[in-house]
């Protein structure tokens, strides 16, 4: 019972973006007008992943990360309208970036499963224009 309550609370802030586990709206970049993913192509997933901050402090050697747990899982990279992939970082992972302004990481891509994960908190959700 208790666990369920916690889970519900956690999802609350994103509930309005999810319909039948999929992204209800199209996904856009937060900094530029680039459209990243059309609606309904991402599946909502709760996975904990330490994603580096989009802005890192200058002259700081360690990479500061943020533990995020809400992602849109995209099973095929060609489902994206516009997306960029970084060079591989470790064990076949690549960071996802905006294809136009290159801010990121907005998520990560796993070369083994070919699945991409876009952090809900790193993108904008809006109706198709």
């Amino acid at each position: 019972m208790n666990e369920e309550k916690i889970d519900n609370c956690k999802n609350n802030i994103y509930d309005h973006l999810i319909a039948e586990e999929k992204n209800k709206h199209s996904v856009y970049c937060t900094k530029c007008p680039s459209k990243i993913l059309p609606s309904t192509l991402g599946k909502h997933m709760n996975i904990e992943f330490n994603l580096p901050h989009m802005s890192q402090k200058k002259n700081c050697e360690s990479i500061e990360c943020e533990l995020l747990s809400d992602y849109w899982m995209v099973p095929d990279m060609y489902m994206f309208d516009n997306i960029g992939f970084s060079k591989p970082i470790e064990s076949g992972l690549k960071y996802l970036i905006c294809a136009d302004c290159e801010i990121g990481p907005i998520g990560w891509y796993d070369d083994k499963t070919k699945q991409s994960y876009v952090a809900l908190s790193r993108v904008k959700h809006a109706e198709d224009s």
């Binding site: 060609y78 970084s86 801010i103």
Partner: protein
């Protein structure tokens, strides 16, 4: 499994000397130096962009050669599957223009022979520093039967046009333009073979 969300998929490469602005051609807004730092230390592998041309939804997978600009490092594996190549030089850098011929030779040696090519003279916003006149770019393109454009990634001149033109030229020679058309074509060919046999 997943529904197909596009009609065609083209792989494009950006090739040319380092510093000619290939990476800049791939992005429109580069003013936020702070946020690009993190990704630029890792580097970009490729991008996927979606365009609509002649009623077809086309996915472009665009690869940048940044960091591997020396001829010997770009070989067959890099060109594999490439359907279009943007060959870029910098109008303010004579050497980068002279190297276009070397790049063309490299492409001829390693890439698929029917790959669509396009030559871009980049940084055309820097008129005061120009050392390669437009006519020379046009000349070399004509000589090799390739289309040519002067571009500026910085001022966003002709970038969109370059991608559209290259994509269109690939689209126009895509057999049947749709995968479903291909088997029909083969059938027709077989029929005509049989007919010609009968005639003989």
């Amino acid at each position: 499994m997943a529904k197909k969300t596009y009609d065609l998929l083209f792989k494009l490469l950006l090739i040319g000397d380092s510093g000619v602005g290939k990476t800049c051609i791939l992005f429109r807004f580069s003013d936020d130096a702070f946020t690009t730092t993190f990704i630029s230390t890792i580097g970009i592998d490729f991008k996927i962009k979606t365009v609509e041309l002649q009623g077809k939804k086309i996915k472009l997978q665009i690869w940048d050669t940044a960091g591997q600009e020396r001829f010997h490092t770009i070989t067959t594996s890099y060109y594999r599957g490439a359907m279009g190549i943007m060959l870029v030089y910098d109008i303010t850098n004579e050497k980068s223009f002279e190297n276009i011929v070397k790049w063309l030779r490299n492409i001829n040696e390693h890439a698929n022979e029917d790959v669509e090519k396009m030559i871009l003279g980049n940084k055309c916003d820097m008129e005061d520093k120009r050392v390669v006149v437009k006519g020379r770019g046009e000349g070399i393109a004509r000589e090799h039967g390739i289309s040519f454009l002067e571009t500026s990634a910085k001022a966003n001149i002709n970038i969109e046009k370059a991608f559209t033109e290259l994509t269109l030229s690939i689209l126009n020679k895509t057999p049947g333009r749709e995968p479903t058309d291909v088997p029909e074509k083969i059938n027709i060919d077989r029929k005509s073979d049989r007919l010609s046999n009968r005639c003989c």
